[in-house]
Point group: C2
Chain length 130, copies 2
Amino acid sequence: MGVKRKTKSVELMLETFGQSKNALTVVDLVKRFEGKMNKTTVYRVLERLEDEGKLHSFTGKDGLKWVAKCHGCISSNHTDDHPHFQCNDCGISQCLSLDISIPKVANHKIESANFLFFGQCEQCLNSYSE
Amino acid sequence: MGVKRKTKSVELMLETFGQSKNALTVVDLVKRFEGKMNKTTVYRVLERLEDEGKLHSFTGKDGLKWVAKCHGCISSNHTDDHPHFQCNDCGISQCLSLDISIPKVANHKIESANFLFFGQCEQCLNSYSE
DNA sequence: TTTGTTAATGCACCTAAGTTGCATTATATT
DNA sequence: AATATAATGCAACTTAGGTGCATTAACAAA
Ligand SMILES: [Mn+2]
Ligand SMILES: [Mn+2]
Ligand SMILES: [Zn+2]
Ligand SMILES: [Zn+2]
């Protein structure tokens, strides 16, 4: 590859995420763009946007790949190393603006960490009290 | 299903884990038992042993399923809710005997968590200083 | 505006983890 | 030994994700 080009697909993908802190599964994105963007293109556009520091991804409980917007990352360094939350009731997944300190582990050098929390999201909690 | 029976496969599987805190991928287990136990049986035996609280599993960075021995769990309650470690160099994965407190998250009810750490394991650290 | 270069895309096909249905075999009970 | 059924093997399936290659679209140069 040489110089990156602006394309409809890339813009469309970024618009889809907007400024939301909610994550989307790649599977969902593929469905969402059916007829408009090929499955392969979805994967390639996501890979590109991750490289560019505009999106980041994590693996959910189910093993599926989830993608979300980056806030303040640059191409050479993903700085938003935050935990993620997955709702046991409605299944949504979102980024948490929360700092978690990585503990010391004897005889190990820890370089990074994945934190995944499970429970009920705001919307699901509210729907109980109606 | 009715009353569980003792079988060679179940014993063999438990022996394989021994008392180690190292986890094994299901993929590895399938390879390991090639010719002795069918892939399907591996998956079913693992499912059974998880139900019985003798093994537990987690999803690795790669999305693969890892399995490890439980210490002090019973059928109705998996109590060993601990973090896991994956070595970036040699690829091994292991259970960490480490208590991590689950933080409060505004407008969310957190019920459980997955912690996955990445870095260098003891063996890999030592091999550098040789 | 037209032309040339090549990045981006679509499409068909592939890979591999994990699952399912069903016939056969092994274990436990009488 | 005869019976009941849990466990297993096997083949076929499902699905997330990836690859190779021909075609198309973006962009710069003429
Ligand atoms: Mn995030
Ligand atoms: Mn463990
Ligand atoms: Zn919810
Ligand atoms: Zn290691």
